[in-house]
Symmetry: C2
Subunit: 470 residues, 2 copies
């Protein structure tokens, strides 16, 4: 038998493929295709090397590889023997090493104007400046060889603390700050910290559905709480069994309501009296165009009941993934018990670049720059809305944010409006899609972000919507 096997081995000596790999592949195929069976002996190293005029080391390497992968064994010491392999018991759809059928492409309609996303205006950020801060990080390469601080780099946490104190009225300690690549990643950590605390979480309804989803994924029961004009319905919250509530008090998502200080106090009382937790999502409070930004609820939190979530992805381009949360002391203790089980997943280079950018005052400059840019865009947007739609729409807006809500007086359903806009290359968002409970009937509200639409194209883009809907 040996002679036959050896006779069939055709080696390519052109050195494209090492000889030992060719030998290994030959025997692997023989075994897989059952031309060699369990218990069959392979030629001895010496005789195979002689017969093929190759070195014994080459044969040995091939046999070693086959042995490592479990095709053969040398229990008998002197000789290598084919192992008993479980056959693949099912008919194969395709051979190993062939490509799977191309999956069905997800339908991605051609979108020219995207009103559905708060992504940044192309004039909104100076990437040359950012590049300078990125390059500075490379001056201290040794720091980049490690995973870095488990809560995020200390310099950045310190800068965040300064910013929160000066701009958001939040006084916290850098040890309370945890950096993450996006609010969802942070909510994943938070769910782990909170899982022994409660099994249900109240959410503003309509509200931030991508946040809701993370809690649902972790097995929490979501309790939707109706929105009133001044924020969530406190009576519903009292009546619920929830020991935790998620909200955006300074600029509710998506309605835009501001929660007044009276209700903030009620909420803090509720948390203290019922031993509950408030999660404050302060996602875009920088963009208030008149007066000063509404202070964070966390600033009133003298009893350490509020988890504060912040993100840079409205002030920096969202391709730079930097978010953070501030934990109350008692949750910080729980977090630390388990912290080593979670690797912080934010790029160290971008963390350190951001720390330098903030320390040199560029972050505040960037906020002022964007506030001016978006204020002007917003005025233009509203002017264009009036011109294009006249009295066919009612514009719900307030003094902040990157979006408006449009009440459309149309016979079309919101879904029809969405599809007709999409067919003409415009993507919009619907308020109804942010409800967990049933949305109110006849809710003909469209969300339009203006941040990403170029000022020069605004009117044109709105005319397309007008033609789609009327």
């Amino acid at each position: 038998m040996e002679g036959d096997i050896m006779g069939l081995i055709l080696l390519d000596y052109s050195r494209k493929n090492p000889l030992y790999i060719q030998l290994y592949q030959y025997y692997k195929t023989e075994i897989e295709q059952k031309r060699l069976l369990a218990g069959d002996k392979l030629p001895s190293i010496r005789s195979l090397a002689q017969s093929l005029s190759i070195s014994k080391i080459t044969v040995e390497k091939a046999y070693q590889q086959l042995m490592s992968e479990g095709y053969i064994d040398n229990n008998e010491r002197a000789r290598y023997v084919v192992n008993k392999l479980a056959g693949i018991a099912f008919a194969s759809n395709r051979q190993p090493g062939t490509w799977p059928v191309n999956p069905a492409k997800p339908d991605s309609p051609n979108i020219i104007y995207d009103f559905s996303s708060g992504e940044m205006d192309l004039a909104g950020f100076d990437f040359s400046l950012w590049k300078r801060y990125i390059n500075k990080v490379f001056l201290n390469k040794d720091r980049l060889f490690t995973y870095g601080d488990i809560q995020g780099e200390e310099e950045l946490r310190q800068e965040i603390i300064k910013y929160l104190q000066n701009s958001r009225g939040v006084y916290a300690n850098k040890d309370q700050v945890i950096i993450g690549p996006g609010v969802q990643s942070l909510l994943n950590y938070l769910c782990s910290v909170l899982q022994d605390k409660t099994q249900s979480v109240a959410f503003e309804d309509p509200g931030f559905k991508n946040g809701r989803r993370i809690f649902a994924d972790h097995g929490f029961t979501i309790v939707p709480i109706k929105m009133k004009n001044d924020g969530i319905d406190m009576d519903q919250l009292y009546a619920s069994e929830a020991k935790m509530v998620y909200l955006s008090p300074s600029h509710q998502f998506p309605t835009g309501y501001i929660m007044p200080v009276g209700k903030r106090n009620q909420l803090l009382n509720w948390a203290e009296n019922s031993n509950s937790i408030i999660i404050e999502d302060d996602y875009d409070s920088e963009f208030r165009y008149f007066g000063r930004p509404i202070p964070a609820l966390k600033g009133l939190d003298t009893r350490d009941r509020v988890v504060y979530m912040g993100s840079f992805s409205k002030v920096l381009p969202p391709s730079i993934r930097l978010s953070y949360m501030v934990l109350p002391m008692n949750l910080l203790a729980v977090y630390r018990e388990n912290a080593s089980l979670y690797h912080q997943a934010t790029s160290t280079i971008e963390q350190l670049a951001m720390a330098g950018f903030m320390a040199d005052g560029h972050f505040e400059r960037q906020i002022r720059r964007l506030r001016k840019l978006y204020y002007e865009k917003k005025l233009l947007f509203i002017k264009n809305l009036h011109q294009v739609f006249g009295d066919k729409v009612e514009i719900k807006e307030n003094e902040s944010g990157l979006r408006i809500i449009l009440n459309v007086k149309s016979n079309l359903s919101p879904n029809e409006m969405f599809l007709k806009a999409q067919a003409k290359g415009c993507k919009v968002a619907l308020v109804q899609d942010y409800y967990l409970a049933a949305a109110p009937e006849n809710l003909s509200q469209i969300i339009l972000y203006f941040s990403k639409i170029p000022a020069t194209k605004m009117k044109k883009a709105l005319k397309i919507l007008q033609e789609a809907w009327f």
Copy 2:
């Protein structure tokens, strides 16, 4: 009353703080400290402006801010009236705007030599080269203003596919690849995709506890499966109700076992016959020092039963957070239904830099560079271990990886060894800590990574361990 109130207002005209903010802060404090009560009227805009010799616009801005935050209202039209605020019903631990007490510092002993982590040797990566690829990304800034592709940038997914085909024997389509900032982030997405599929997941025991944790956080029951010398105990797997198993077949973590092809076939048969899923964590297969890397299990997966998890964080420094997974077609469909609810959280700049780095062949060069570096370090490490410990230890190693397992013949328990090493500035890891079920008694196994220990310090560092333990 008006006269009194106005008389107390001391404005600082030095322009450090805008006048309207000073006015706003004055009334805010008056209301919070109950010197102004619900129903009290504020001075009219005109009279306050006159009395303070400031413009009416300044007063109006201050009143607007107070109104936005809910301190006052102007329901009576002509005059502004203090709102009824819920008092804070509990005694305050601290005033708003004061710092929380510094939290207890987590005990971070001073570690000089860290044997517990597979972080990179400082000579392992050329950051100047990487910086070039980062800087190239800035040539096309427009791409950086958006969130980017929800599965990760297409160029990088394409390069990953090429690498998997050439180096891991895995044939997949770029549409099946999902990028994430670390394996844990990807497991978060995966848990969401899998949650309707099964409620329990089998794990090699001992195994990757940070992965286990993510499944546990999502409410999955973890079924520990014993390890045999050729991988998990198939009989235990058959007997379990699990419809999913997580394993690292090419280099088991932490034991280092390679799963032979026969068992791989058994596993694929099990998955096909029981309609189950295999999650293959291929975390460091690049570092095989003899022969070629063990092919991935995914390469045998003709029936699309295997989710493949890969990471760059052993080949690139882990401060660059780039991982990926390859989904089978049926799970890809589930993922896509929900993909819009999850924002991919990997830095776009680092994704695009990596795509360029791979396309130019630097990734393969980097693997060869590290394989050589770590091979030499490993030989040196083992030589030093023999010299320093003699026959007091048994070295369990194989032909790959960045770590060895040490069986220590000592009267100390593993925990004592851990603490004694730590007291002398050395951090080690214990195999027993990776068990979910009870670890075998008398398991005196220490994990030592050599990747991060400088070659010139190795002997010195091992001597410290020797002194700590004997």
